[in-house]
């Protein structure tokens, strides 16, 4: 059988990225998009050349947090990710689909992922943050198959209902020998015990708690204000302590 040509350039562009951090959970609605986007803002603000890639093709939404409405890619022997801020390069299918619905079966998610990854021209990045979709389907399976040495930052909330689904993902990651950076407890009101226990159960790092921040919704779209929220402050501490970029 003839090879899939796209995989060659995919590998080449990914090789320009020093660190790949994939924000995953298995579960939906725990804050993967929020955390990945704010994390990319924090890293770029600290002077790291940062990429942010939205892989939730059914419901892309990083752009809403960044406040990007009109957005076009430059073409230059491929597609240049969009400069969303100083040091921050962003890629999403959003400019292609706008507010249309995106019904894609797994096989199509898989092809869209491969095609997109193979035409994106990332700069030499210190770090690429990936916003993963929920579930354990084609995007996750192809991501781990094709993207070299990602580190996984797992997100959970302090709910038994959420924990059981996140637990499945962690088991999968550990049995597959993937690199888990650690777990973040998100939308914490007072108690983060269930997430701490989960970290202990699998001997993975508990990276910290991000408070439920009522103010966050009000600053959606305003990068400067977002960096001033309690949510961003908590993530900054996590970056400080645990995200060492070579």
């Amino acid at each position: 059988m003839m090879p899939d040509i796209r995989l060659y350039r995919l590998k080449k562009t990914m090789d320009k990225v020093k660190n790949i951090i994939s924000v995953a959970s298995g579960k939906g609605g725990v804050g993967k998009t929020t955390i990945s986007t704010v994390l990319s803002l924090i890293l770029s603000e600290r002077g790291y050349i940062t990429g942010l890639l939205d892989l939730d093709f059914h419901g892309p939404s990083c752009h809403t947090i960044l406040g990007i409405d009109k957005m076009e890619y430059e073409e230059e022997k491929g597609i240049n990710p969009y400069k969303a801020a100083e040091n921050l390069y962003f890629a999403s299918i959003y400019p292609f689909v706008k507010n249309g619905y995106v019904p894609l079966r797994g096989m199509e998610l898989s092809n869209a992922l491969i095609e997109f990854l193979s035409i994106l021209n990332w700069k030499e990045l210190d770090c690429l943050i990936i916003d993963m979709p929920p579930g354990m389907g084609d995007v996750l399976l192809d991501f781990i198959r094709l993207v070299p040495s990602p580190k996984f930052l797992i997100v959970a909330t302090n709910s038994a209902l959420v924990i059981q689904t996140v637990r499945r993902l962690i088991k999968f990651m550990i049995e597959g020998n993937f690199n888990i950076l650690g777990i973040v407890a998100n939308m914490i009101r007072n108690d983060d015990a269930l997430v701490r226990e989960l970290a202990k159960e699998f001997s993975i790092k508990f990276l910290g708690s991000v408070p439920f921040d009522q103010y966050f919704e009000k600053v959606l779209g305003n990068m400067q204000e977002i960096l001033r929220t309690n949510l961003a402050a908590a993530l900054s501490d996590i970056v400080e302590q645990y995200i060492k970029l070579k």
Binding site: M2, P3, D4, I5, R6, L7, Y8, R9, K12, E75, E76, K77, G78, I79, I93, F96, V97, G100, Y101, V102, P103, L104, R105, E108, L109, N111, A112, E115, F116, S118, I119, N121
Partner: protein, 135 residues
């Protein structure tokens, strides 16, 4: 102009294939170009000819054949072909599909039942159809 990105992929793929087969040279590369992606074949050809220089494909003849996109509706079974995307889609829509052919599911519906739930059975994008090597 992401035809350059695709051309780069093609050259890397055929060179890798030739190396794995311990070939001396690549004599011919045969490409099947699905028209759903509305690639500019002249640009693609130009890019391939630039990029092949200094590689094992330096003297390779590059052959193209084209294929209209064909669809099969999963909801109703209808099968259809599109010969002119311009007749049914806007420039922006064609451009989106150009980059990611799967986004055809956002813009195209089955002409019989209106569903977006179809398969692209032919003519999706570039396929490496054959490579002739000199061993």
């Amino acid at each position: 102009m992401h035809e350059w990105a695709l051309a780069e992929s093609i050259i890397m793929a055929v060179v890798d294939l030739a190396k794995r087969e311990n070939a001396k040279e690549i004599l011919e590369v045969e490409l099947l170009v699905g028209e759903l992606q509305t690639l500019n074949i002249e640009v693609l050809e130009f890019a391939l000819n630039e990029l092949k220089r200094g590689t094992m494909a330096e003297n390779a003849k590059i052959k193209f054949s084209k294929q209209f996109p064909r669809f099969k509706c999963i909801a109703c079974g209808n099968v259809w072909e599109i010969r002119n995307l311009e007749n049914i889609l806007s420039r922006d829509e064609i451009e989106s599909i150009h980059f990611i052919p799967e986004l055809s599911h956002v813009f195209i519906k089955c002409p019989r039942c209106g569903s977006n739930d179809f398969q692209v059975t032919e003519g999706r994008g570039i396929i490496l159809k054959g490579v002739v090597l000199k061993k």
